[in-house]
């Protein structure tokens, strides 16, 4: 069973090209977080509706890193993001394991 994450609707992602920094802004609470480039990339894909598998594959391709490490790091990042309220769990994807086997 796999979780399906979504970006919290009150979160705004922003790349500031002046400072060359990446941010996630919570427009309700005022909290704001500095992200690195890969974290920003992950959240941007999540905002576009990508599944976790699609995100992992995209990061794997873009960063040219080992797929298993990429998977672990991405899921850790998503869990941390959920903990601080940047993302929420939309629904459980009960077919995840089956789809993966297929």
């Amino acid at each position: 069973m796999m979780k399906k994450y979504k970006l919290n609707k009150n979160v705004c992602l922003k790349y500031d090209d002046v400072s060359d920094k990446y941010y996630a802004f919570c427009v309700n609470s005022g909290d704001h977080f500095a992200l690195n480039r890969v974290g920003f990339f992950i959240l941007t894909l999540l905002e576009k509706g990508y599944s976790i598998d699609e995100i992992i594959n995209s990061v794997h391709k873009q960063e040219n890193i080992d797929l298993n490490i990429c998977k672990t790091d991405t899921i850790n990042f998503l869990n941390k993001s959920k903990k601080i309220g940047i993302i929420a769990i939309e629904k459980e994807d009960h077919n995840y394991d089956k789809k993966r086997q297929d």
Binding site: C12, V18, Y23, F25, V27, G30, A34, N36
Partner: protein, 341 residues
Amino acid sequence: MEFEKLSENTHEEEFYFQWHITNECNLRCKHCYHSDYIDDSLNIDQLLLIGNHLCDAAQKWGKKASFSLTGGEPFSNSKNIFSLLDLLEKRNVDRVDILTNGTLIDEKITKKLKKYTKLRRIQLSLEGLKDTNDKIRGNGSYERTIKTIKQLKEQSFNVSIMMTIGRHNYNEVIPLAKELGLLNVDAFILDRFIPEGQSNDKKDWLLSSEEIRQVYSLAYNFFQASLKPRFLLYRTLFCLLNPDDSHIGAICSVGNNALTIMPNGDVFPCRRLPIKIGNLLEETIYNIWYTSPLLWEMRNPENLKGKCHNCEYIPICRGCRAMAYAITGNYFESDPQCWKQ
């Protein structure tokens, strides 16, 4: 893939809110940027809600909140301004200024204001010596303002005078400064006249860049020679006179560390740049500050046009975006009054 929580959103220590709490005004100054004086102020509950929200935001951002309460004439509804002063006195606010025409401040109000420890300064306005001032602000207004200055100084308030300079009055900057020195006025502030609102038809009052250079030079010379009143020259373009003097000049605060709140809760990037970027009854200050396309555009000096674009003083100036907007319709154009070649 780490991220870190931030406590600050800029490198500035202060966050400045210029809060126009009412449109009502008992004067009709000819240079005023207001387009109407209809009272669409919020009720006190709404004002207090916004006040608390702004204080919360400054706290969240790790900033020192500073407020200027103004109008219209903020003492048109003295109950509201005192309720807000009560709130700001209790909150995480560094300092409060009141920008007023001073004509409604009587002895009772003066005494009542004494208890506010965060009230740093009361700013009144004069536009020159008596005749010139009264042509702009109305007959008798000069004497009334002088009376208020004396009343406030007797109670040891920090008093500043704002003069909005244009072709109609710029030759009276130094004569007025000398008068203010005799009255023991603490600070003297010059702002450039911008034709907007009801003064939109007075473009002939605009000074040329050379005239601005001349009057700024005179003010800077006075500043270097005299202690009273202290010219506060923290304005764009002043840095051109002496880029190495950190006591003069300022970078435009739009998108950096300031916002203007209008009587109905609308938020402007600056009072003189009258473009609505949100409303505090409908959304949080965070939403406006983080997502306004105009603010993000303003934060990027690459967007500046004309001679401002490649100017060596971008880190300390950037010109007045409101002036550029009022004159050219594009807030990224060069400051029309900049004299740098």
